[in-house]
């Protein structure tokens, strides 16, 4: 298995500030010394992006983990960004609330890391993505000063929305130090509907779910290899595809949706639906969330394709054909697909397959990025996909906010 390590950062000095002031001071000194800053928490996302372009300090955020304010009745929470997601979930659960964003590394993620990478999972279809929940942000800038944007109220349009800009910026615009999130009540009930499909049924099934009278919060598909990877003993492993439809709502609405969907699937596809009820569905939700960050031990690379939802069936099939035995998952309602390139393929073949998928995704106005691969493959694989025509503007934003290239230099799109 590829270790999630980034050789470029190995051997760098590590600092673990105990306060925002101390973090600011470290950054200020690094800026003076023209060294770079590489923020990290538990290192669960270090494999993402290019190898750093220069040396510097690794700045550990785990001590910046304070719960600042949690007025549960206002359904907002303010925390320092180094807080572990596990701890945050626990705090919210005590008040019957949650952040309805899936976490691919639920035992390791920090909130700051989730934000930097813009982690999302199956629930994005129904509940939106992480960016939709960030209402306030504090960031230590290139001068070592903590600056803020947004606020602590759920609706606020004063000033530019830096919350969106930093979400998914891979920490290249500053060190996220504090975050205010909008949270939601934990749904009263949930269930997962599971349907086994043959290849020819895949597209009609996704079309059917698109028009369903129900309101799923997640629509995922897994191929055989993915089902075997996640749950080797699964009864659906004999089918070409497994369709998993998640519901979260009050008990009555979940029950009605399960029945309605069953009937729709029976009528439209002549297939039976297995419903995994609340309580037993948790493991499936978690597996679906973890898939993207949990390649099989022998996998050589993990890629993500983003296309229009209507093209998911075609691209899922295409991946299957390009890389036989490649575990494939798609968040079908959102047009997001993940594949783990199986082991034993020579680099040339992996490269050819990835390039071919990227070209096809581009022709469909989509893209392909690499989440995980051998460090020395990064020079040749399209780590951040094909450049888009707003790249020059991204460069201007980077130059304006981090002119010295202090934060995570070289790792993000176009080696920004």
């Amino acid at each position: 298995m590829i270790q999630p390590k980034n050789t470029g950062e190995l051997g760098m000095e590590v600092r673990k500030p105990a306060s925002v002031e101390e973090a600011g001071e470290i950054i200020r000194r690094a800026a003076q010394a023209r060294a770079a800053i590489f923020p990290f928490g538990n290192d669960s996302k270090r494999h993402i992006g290019f190898t750093p372009s220069k040396m510097g300090l690794r700045l550990n955020t785990l001590n910046l983990n304070r719960l600042v304010d949690y007025p549960a009745r206002d359904m907002t929470v303010t925390v320092q960004a180094g807080i572990s997601m596990k701890l945050l979930r626990g705090i919210l659960a005590k008040e019957g609330q949650c952040l309805p964003v899936d976490d691919p590394c639920p035992d390791q993620s920090t909130l700051g890391g989730m934000l930097a990478v813009n982690c999302n999972g199956p629930r994005r279809f129904g509940w939106g993505t992480l960016r939709d929940y960030v209402i306030g942000i504090s960031v230590i800038n290139d001068e070592g000063k903590e600056t803020k944007a947004g606020g602590r109220v759920v609706k606020n349009v004063a000033g530019y929305d830096f919350c969106k800009l930093h979400t998914g910026a891979l920490g290249t615009l500053g060190l996220i130090s504090q975050v205010t999130l909008k949270v939601r009540p934990k749904p009263e009930s949930s269930a997962m509907a599971v349907i086994g499909l043959n290849q020819k049924d895949l597209e009609p099934a996704l079309d059917l779910v698109h028009g369903t009278a129900t309101r799923p919060v997640s629509i995922d598909i897994l191929n055989q290899a993915a089902v075997r990877h996640l749950k080797p003993d699964s009864s659906n492993a004999s089918k070409d595809w497994t369709l998993l439809i998640g519901f979260e709502h009050n008990e009555k609405a979940v029950a009605w949706q399960c029945e309605t969907l069953m009937e729709e699937v029976r009528q439209g596809l002549g297939r039976e639906t297995q419903v995994i009820p609340k309580g037993k569905d948790q493991a499936i939700w978690e597996s679906l969330a973890r898939f993207q960050a949990a390649p099989p031990a022998d996998s050589q690379a993990t890629f993500k394709i983003n296309v229009a939802p209507a093209k998911v069936a075609a691209f899922a099939t295409l991946i299957d054909e390009t890389f036989p035995l490649c575990p494939v998952q798609a968040h079908a309602g959102s047009g997001i697909l993940f594949g783990h390139v199986p082991g034993a393929l020579p680099f040339a073949e992996v490269h050819r397959g990835i390039q071919s998928l990227l070209e096809k995704a581009k022709r469909s106005l989509g893209n392909l990025t690499i989440l995980h691969c051998h460090e020395d493959w990064k020079n040749d694989l399209p780590v951040w996909g094909a450049p888009r025509d707003d790249l020059f503007l991204m460069r201007k934003v980077k130059e304006s906010l981090d002119p010295m290239g202090l934060f995570n230099p070289g790792r993000f799109v176009d080696r920004i």
Binding site: P71, V154, W384, M394
Partner: protein, 473 residues
């Protein structure tokens, strides 16, 4: 200016330019009428290319420019401070594409918000942001101000529904950010363009997410003796884990005006009413409505009525959304504020508003998005009387200062515009504002696109020459 006018006319052709002083009056302000300033010219492009050429011409002549939609904004966002060219997007009003299978649509900026929703109605979809002005406001304007509306409590604000934009940058170049497909690699430029109040360029196309219509609604009208009872109800509904589609409050003064205008049957002796709407699937919806009713009654509601037909629900929402129009019955002029407080501070801020109204001898009525903590005190006055104008401004500022003091914001959905520039240094430190200026410089380095908006001229201090405000005073 003649050479500029000639150049602009050569770009857009005859009949797409306004230069006559009397006609320019229409463009001297938006819904915030306290500050006014005429542009030198208004130009009406029809294509992206024309917008780009106009912007390049403005650059060549060294003249500032500012995009404008329907002008329904309420904070002076499209006020042409210092004159210049207003680029009206009113003629770019095509719905270019609606892709139901992929749940997105591509629209030009002059498309009226409600047109898009009406267009999609037969297919069971809508555009979720529904500002009260949705019958007039444009999607370009919604993007500029990151508009909200009554249903944002459950469905989110504009930025949650924008997938990408085509933007004419202030140097005249054209760029596309985001697009119909999610998760494009790189910075979320779209996310920061939304709500930038026209200071990053002119958005000429927008990819919006479209949302399936709820199958059913339960719309409840709770009648309360006091504002406190109503606000406690709001707090308890949210605390019980129910997220209604909308949770709106109207106070006694506005009820009188609305009743006169719409004859809905509002109880005129009530201290406040709440419009409480749950929507979604039919299954479980009645139970939700019952829980809300019980909470309202527990908190002293003397009556909870349920709209028993679509027509009644429509009339109720019409009354709510046109409340601002009905205010015309109460006074010749009004100024609507847009503060936000943590929901739990609603009872406090409403008491403060009452106190401040008395202090400045100004009548203030309230109709607002209670579920979001987004207050809209409407200050009534006569703009012909400079004394009243002064008092209204002072009262507004005191209300907004109190919103900041209790941890809120001075604008939930209307924007900073010119009206609230003075508040930016109260909300943000010089360093915070410095970062905002740095970000603006990435898009708009010469600050020639919507100048004097949102940010004070230097990070720390507020602009001191305010032609519009001086004129009004």
């Amino acid at each position: 200016m003649k050479p500029l006018f000639d150049k602009l006319e050569s770009i857009v052709g005859p009949g797409a330019l306004i230069t006559a002083s009397s006609e320019l009056l229409v463009y001297e302000c938006d819904g915030f009428t306290i500050e006014k300033n005429k542009p030198d010219v208004v130009v009406f492009p029809k294509t992206t290319q024309e917008v780009a050429e106009i912007v390049r011409a403005c650059n060549a002549f060294g003249v500032p420019f500012i995009p404008r939609g329907a002008g329904t904004s309420l904070a002076g966002g499209c006020l042409p401070v210092g004159g210049g060219v207003v680029i009206s997007l009113a003629r770019m009003k095509k719905i270019l594409e609606v892709d139901y299978r992929n749940r997105c649509a591509l629209v030009e900026p002059g498309v009226i918000n409600l047109w898009l929703t009406n267009h999609m109605k037969p297919h069971g979809y809508h555009f979720a942001p529904d500002p009260s002005s949705q019958g007039a406001c444009t999607i370009g304007g919604n993007v500029a101000t990151n508009s909200g509306g009554p249903h944002t409590l459950k469905y989110g604000v504009t930025v949650n529904h924008i997938l990408g934009v085509e933007l004419v940058l202030p140097d005249g170049s054209i760029v596309r950010t985001g697009g119909p497909i999610e998760d494009n690699p790189g910075y979320d430029l779209t996310g920061v363009i939304v709500g930038s109040e026209g200071t990053f360029g002119v958005a000429v196309k927008t990819w919006v997410r479209i949302t399936r219509n709820p199958v059913a609604y339960r719309t409840l009208l709770g009648v309360f003796e006091t504002v406190d009872d109503a606000t406690n109800t709001i707090s308890e509904i949210i605390g019980a884990g129910i997220i209604p589609g909308a949770l709106e409050m109207l106070d006694q003064m506005i009820l009188g005006a609305l009743e006169e205008a719409f004859h809905f049957g509002f109880p005129l002796d009530a201290g406040a009413i709440l419009i409480m709407e749950v929507d979604g699937l039919k299954a479980g919806l009645d139970e939700e409505a019952e829980r809300i009713t019980a909470i309202a009654k527990k908190n002293g509601a003397r009556e909870v009525r349920q709209a028993d037909s679509d027509a009644q629900r429509t009339l109720l929402w019409k009354a709510r959304k046109q409340a601002f129009g009905a205010v015309g019955r109460l006074a010749p002029s009004f100024c609507t504020q847009d503060g936000v407080v943590p929901r739990s501070m609603l009872p406090h801020i409403l008491r403060e508003i009452q106190r401040i109204g008395k202090k400045y001898d100004t009548r203030i009525c309230n109709v607002f998005h209670a579920g979001d903590g987004n207050i809209h005190p409407i200050l009534l006055f006569d703009e012909r009387d400079p004394e009243q104008v002064k008092r209204v401004l002072a009262a507004s500022h005191e209300i907004l200062d109190e919103c900041i003091r209790v941890g809120g914001s001075v604008t939930g959905e209307h924007g900073i515009g010119v009206e609230k520039i003075d508040f930016m240094p109260k909300l943000f430190s010089p360093e915070d504002l410095g970062m905002m200026i740095r970000l603006r410089n990435a898009f708009n380095p010469r600050n020639n696109c919507s100048p004097h908006k949102m940010l004070p001229t230097s990070g720390a201090c507020v602009e001191t020459t305010r032609a519009g405000r001086m004129a009004a005073l």
